[in-house]
């Protein structure tokens, strides 16, 4: 479940990496908390971690809808939420995957293939009237690629929403919120 509008700069966005107990209903708890409190989710990606008892939810939040601090504190109140780290976009690596089917006649197909090559994307399928490409990379790069594909006519497009981890450089790359556990 994901929905990633185009963003090149993201001053009003923050990435929350939320470690949760991997249990039925946990995603519903998180998403209904956002809905109930009027916070906007920009994108959301979820999958189990290396320890199958836990999942990591990467949420990009729109902090114009509420102060980040409130969002984090309310999330902490969910019993299934174990830890929340706010990832500073400058100190983290972000990746996203996009797939797109572009309508393109066979004579122009070469242009799209070339574009995909420049971006280090992949050609997944080729038809007489259309071509399906994929690209994995930073959200900005995906934005650019999407913009260029648009000129050809996008039939279908799907982005996963970003996942992120702290960069492996220097000291503290995460700022774990240590307000203690909520009650």
């Amino acid at each position: 479940m994901s929905m990633t509008p185009n963003t090149t700069s993201m001053p009003s966005h923050h990435i929350l990496s939320v470690l949760v107990q991997n249990r039925a209903g946990v995603l519903a708890r998180v998403s209904s908390l956002f809905a109930r409190r009027g916070y906007n989710i920009f994108s959301l990606a979820v999958a189990p971690t290396e320890d199958p008892d836990f999942s990591r939810i990467t949420i990009v939040v729109d902090v114009e809808s509420a102060p980040l601090e409130q969002i984090v504190k309310q999330l902490f109140k969910l019993i299934d939420v174990v830890k929340i780290s706010e990832l500073d976009p400058r100190r983290s690596v972000e990746r996203e995957l996009m797939m797109a089917t572009v309508r393109v006649a066979s004579e122009d197909r070469g242009q799209v293939v070339e574009l995909a090559n420049i971006f280090e994307g992949k050609i997944l399928a080729v038809g007489t009237e259309a071509i399906t490409v994929s690209l994995e990379g930073s959200p900005d790069k995906l934005d650019d690629f999407e913009e260029l594909l648009r000129g050809y006519g996008i039939v279908e497009l799907q982005r996963t929403g970003r996942v992120a981890l702290p960069k492996l450089d220097k000291e503290a790359r995460t700022r774990p919120h240590k307000n203690g556990k909520a009650s």
């Binding site: 209903g25 908390l33 174990v82 203690g180 556990k181 909520a182 009650s183």
Partner: protein, 584 residues
């Protein structure tokens, strides 16, 4: 130990082990298996007439004991009937356990008979909820539920149990404390305040020239009334008690200013507005207290003690946030201040502030126009008499509306846990079932429910429960023939255009209705009848009593801070308006 029992037996045993003595409930298809072992248990079951009643009874029980109230109901419509009390308990941080039946696991998701998505529906009105997936999980989930409901910021927890999980055999195992904690790695409420923050708070308190202790329901939840009193007397500081905290500090105490907020008294409201330091203990800057937030207590620094970190800065940014249990934090605060005083520090002179506050108290006592001969009875007069004649330790419950505000304003609360009401959700119909729950928990106490004629008609049928189960409560219906509070808003803010607020003075016949439910019914129409009727009601202890007071339909609640206005714009009783400038 490898004892094999059914999930239902495990459920009832788990409740026994959690020291449950009373369950409020009503059986049905999916929860049926749990009702069988209940026959062999010492737990008292109170059979309600509507599940909402079970929920509010559990709340009333929890209000007066601090222990979680337990409700047991079936699936589908019974679960949806529980939504209101769950939300009520969630808003007022009442510990409560609600167990709902569910269709068998194999039928979940098929729109089976009486299936509903109970955990989905109740997710946002519970502190936590859980769908049981196998009989083996029952003991752990019950232990988790009690732990979550009663620790940190208390609240309701719902357990949804599919029928097959109740019927299946399981190997009995009662989880240890460690197992419970391990199973909840994300739940570690912080109870002890940060010592540096407590020192900072003590510093601010000693330096403040115009302090106010702003006391909320958290003080009662933390059982901190004694500690609060010690602190208030140590720093000689005026105390306001919010609607949720009435009784946390004695109304008769010279430092007590009573209730602030939309219908608070002028002194409590104004003292907060003019204060230079609000010491918020377990309150949450609710909109009914602050009025328009941007004009609320503009010059006050804020110390905010709350066990829920999310309350810090939610409405008003504190200068000193302290996350912790009110009792532990206040104890530390008292200790710290005493040490500072012992080290030669002195508290700022607050005598000018105190005399300003007493000036307001003299000018603006709670006031209503007295009963005029031949004219309608005043509801406030009834409240005063109810209080005057109440046996010591009486517990007062109320519904929601004008009568609720008159109750809070004109009753004098001296003891904690003697006031039970629906603050956050404002649930009409709360009082009768809540009073029943309170009486079950405290059979030694007299329990009065003050109700409106509108509210009474929402949950009165629980008086049948009270009669059958021999739980004698007393109900004062302030019958003004109107949805009075709404009528007041229409009179004041909608040009007296009354739209759908008139009930009827004659219908229903409250006396006959009371009698039909096995209660004594008494009607009071004039001021002279008030005292004898209350005395009679107080003398009847073998059944419930309903006293209908026919009161003035035109009476309004004052003071009032109209919604959307700031507290400086408080509307006083018309007879006090000429003194307005004293509030500056």
């Amino acid at each position: 130990m490898t004892e094999q029992i059914t999930g239902a037996q495990a459920l009832i045993r788990a409740l026994e082990l959690e020291n449950v003595d009373t369950i409020f409930g009503l059986p049905g298809g999916c929860i049926l298996p749990a009702y069988d072992p209940l026959l062999d248990s010492h737990i008292r079951h109170i059979l309600v007439r509507h599940e909402q009643g079970a929920g509010h009874m559990a709340e009333g029980y929890a209000h007066v004991t601090g222990r979680p109230g337990v409700a047991l109901v079936t699936s589908g419509p019974a679960a949806t009937n529980m939504v209101t009390p769950l939300c009520d308990a969630y808003m007022d941080s009442i510990p409560m356990i609600c167990i709902t039946g569910q269709v068998p696991t194999s039928a979940i998701g098929t729109d089976a008979f009486q299936e509903c998505d109970t955990v989905g529906i109740t997710r946002s009105v519970t502190k936590h909820n859980e769908l049981v997936m196998s009989a083996d999980e029952i003991p752990l989930i019950v232990r988790q539920a009690f732990h979550i409901a009663t620790t940190g910021r208390p609240g309701p927890v719902l357990i949804d149990v599919p029928k097959d999980c109740l019927q299946n055999m399981m190997t009995w195992h009662w989880p240890t404390d460690e197992e419970v904690l391990e199973s909840l790695p994300g739940y570690r409420p912080n109870t002890k305040g940060h010592s540096r923050m407590i020192k900072e708070a003590a510093r601010l308190i000693l330096d403040s020239k115009q302090p106010v202790l702003y006391v909320g329901g958290g003080v009662l939840k933390a059982r901190a009334a004694d500690t609060l009193r010690e602190l208030a007397e140590l720093i000689n500081t005026p105390v306001v008690t919010t609607l949720m905290a009435r009784g946390a500090f004695p109304d008769s105490h010279p430092l007590c200013l009573g209730m602030p907020g939309m219908h608070g008294n002028a002194t409590a409201i104004t003292a907060m507005q003019k204060s230079d330091l609000l010491i918020n203990l377990g309150a949450r800057f609710d909109d009914r207290i602050t009025g328009k937030v941007s004009t609320f207590a503009p010059d006050a620094k804020i110390i905010h003690v709350d066990i829920d970190p999310a309350e810090q800065g939610k409405v008003r940014r504190p200068d000193v946030p302290i996350v912790g249990d009110c009792r532990l934090v206040i104890e530390e605060l008292v200790k710290t201040i005493k040490e500072m005083l012992a080290n030669g520090e002195v508290q700022a002179d607050i005598s000018a502030w105190k005399s300003r506050v007493s000036g307001w108290q003299e000018q603006f006592p709670m006031y209503y126009s007295p009963n005029e001969p031949g004219e309608a009875l005043k509801p406030q007069f009834c409240l005063e008499k109810l209080h005057e004649l109440a046996p010591a330790g009486t517990i007062l419950c109320s519904g929601v509306g004008q009568h609720q505000m008159f109750s809070s304003q004109f009753w004098k609360f001296e003891e904690p846990y003697t006031w039970v009401n629906s603050g956050g959700l404002g649930t009409m119909g709360f009082s009768i079932p809540a009073a029943i729950g309170a009486k079950v928990a405290r059979p030694d106490r007299t329990v009065w429910a003050v109700d409106g004629d509108g509210c009474f008609q929402m949950t009165a049928q629980e008086l049948v429960t009270a009669s059958v189960e021999r739980i004698p409560i007393k109900v004062a219906v302030l019958n003004n023939s109107y949805l009075g509070m709404v009528r007041q808003w229409q009179e004041m803010f909608y040009d007296e255009r009354y739209s759908e607020v008139y009930l009827s003075p004659e219908l229903p016949d409250f006396v006959k209705w009371a009698e039909a439910m096995g209660c004594v019914g008494i009607r009071v129409e004039s001021p002279e009848e008030v005292e004898p009727a209350i005395a009679l009601a107080n003398s009847i202890n073998d059944r419930s009593v309903v006293v209908e007071f026919r009161v003035d339909a035109g009476e309004k609640v004052f003071p009032m801070v109209p919604a959307g206005f700031g507290n400086d714009d408080v509307l006083l009783h018309p007879n006090q308006n000429d003194r307005r400038e004293f509030l500056r």
